[in-house]
Symmetry: C2
DNA sequence: TACTGTGAAGATATTCACAGCT
DNA sequence: AGCTGTGAATATCTTCACAGTA
């Protein structure tokens, strides 16, 4: 861990627990759906079901934000949307750059969920000169040479890395040097960054490996229940059975 | 939450902690790299640095698997690769189906990390009849109608959903009914599944929102340090600063 | 000597269960 | 009566620190 000072400034400064922060987007999504259906209020029970968590957890989470509910009634949908959005810094329109426009980069560029959630694709960047100028999702791809100026001109502070693993650290270094302080990394590599820079990673193969672990374990469980449900399970439906593990580290897709 | 019995059979049966399971793939990747460079042994310190965790955590994690190290020396790389692979059920060649061959589905299909990590793309499935027969990543796309037979014929137990949000639950239901018990969901929806089925989700917009939260917080931190590091941070490098939050829930990319 | 393995302490996260408001 | 907000109990995860051993 290098010279490591206060590793992870995250939970710092009397804040909202990380676990709660990670769930706020989930609540926000569920609330937005309710809002679109003009539902005026929800109970913790209903909202929790829609978000796939249990109601005690949801209420506890909300208690960190303040007391926005009404006892005996529930939560005002619009008001909650506003409060959570604000907490997440979403009224702001975050410019984002995507580096590495392969299959995955293109998929990300085409993702409709950006604009609607407070993000704007400021630029697409690729190292292949042949890509330069080609529009992807309506945005012309620019060459890596311009990375620094693009970031500075647009005041970009969030970068998405969708390059092959080999290029990721180098791209990361340039992003950081140019002023990016938050990185979403799809390349299957551990990035090293200076203090103060946040990195989140998404890694497909890791997710699959975690699933394989549980899958394998299921196979070795012919001890209890062997009578019923041969294939088509008939059990009671739970909201998204997985808790994605207590985790502390997520997984990754990959580059083109 | 429904009738919920023992929600999440995960940590059950005197097992390895979830948090540890989530890190095993990380260790495995680092070890594989060492193995390819013919490095015979590593210390917990070195391996931890390569995996982006701290050594105490790594040693504790390994202690759940057994005592595979040698005091005063370190761990035998090949042996650890073998043990962790086995633990993850990876010698096995898991057949996987990808449903929804849009930009993202194609990116996943092209992902090289599959085969090398014990997974095999058994089939690509899409609802668009126009896609049927078209090869993507060398594999011909098949129509949704054949979903059930594909799964049964290939003994598929892991499915990847890369469809638009609206189709996800329906696809999920069919996968589960056909015998799939582990699902990796890229659609921004909460899937509901029967007990015994594992779901992991990957959600781009959630990741970005979490980054935005921290980004915003950084902005509001002109209290301490304002003297040094104006842009280009000079701080000491830590291995991937983020701890991805204590989490318990991850995020999502999106469908085509 | 150098490094692992692990109890015990500390930090976080989840869940319970109920008092308190509307 | 119904539902929130939260202290307290519990479970899980991380880190410390050192005894044990090759």
């Amino acid at each position: 861990m290098a010279t490591g000072r206060t590793h992870r400034p995250a939970t710092r400064s009397r804040g909202i627990p990380e676990a709660t922060v990670a769930r706020l987007p989930l609540y926000l999504r569920a609330l937005t759906a309710l809002s679109e259906r003009s539902v005026p209020t929800v109970s913790s029970e209903e909202l929790a079901a829609a978000a796939g968590v249990n109601s005690a957890k949801l209420r506890k989470d909300f208690s960190y934000l303040g007391s926005y509910g009404t006892r005996g009634v529930g939560y005002d949908v619009e008001y909650l949307v506003y409060q959570i959005s604000r907490e997440l810094g979403l009224p702001q329109d975050w410019p984002v750059v995507i580096v590495g426009i392969g299959n995955l980069g293109a998929a990300l560029a085409n993702y409709g969920g950006f604009a609607s959630r407070g993000f704007r694709v400021a630029a697409l960047i690729d190292a292949d000169p042949a890509m330069a100028g080609k529009p992807v999702a309506g945005i012309p791809v620019q060459h890596t040479d311009e990375l620094e100026s693009i970031i500075q001109d647009n005041g970009v502070s969030i970068g998405v890395i969708a390059t092959p693993a080999g290029a990721a650290q180098q791209v990361c270094d340039r992003l950081v040097a140019a002023g990016v302080t938050s990185i979403l990394n799809f390349a299957p590599t551990v990035l090293s960054v200076p203090d103060g820079v946040d990195v989140r990673k998404v890694d497909l193969s890791i997710e699959l490996q975690i699933l394989a672990f549980h899958e394998q374990r299921k196979a070795g469980e012919e001890a209890t229940a062997t009578a019923e449900s041969p294939a088509v399970p008939t059990a009671t439906r739970t909201e998204s059975a997985t808790d994605q593990g207590p985790d502390g580290d997520v997984p990754a897709v990959m580059p083109a």
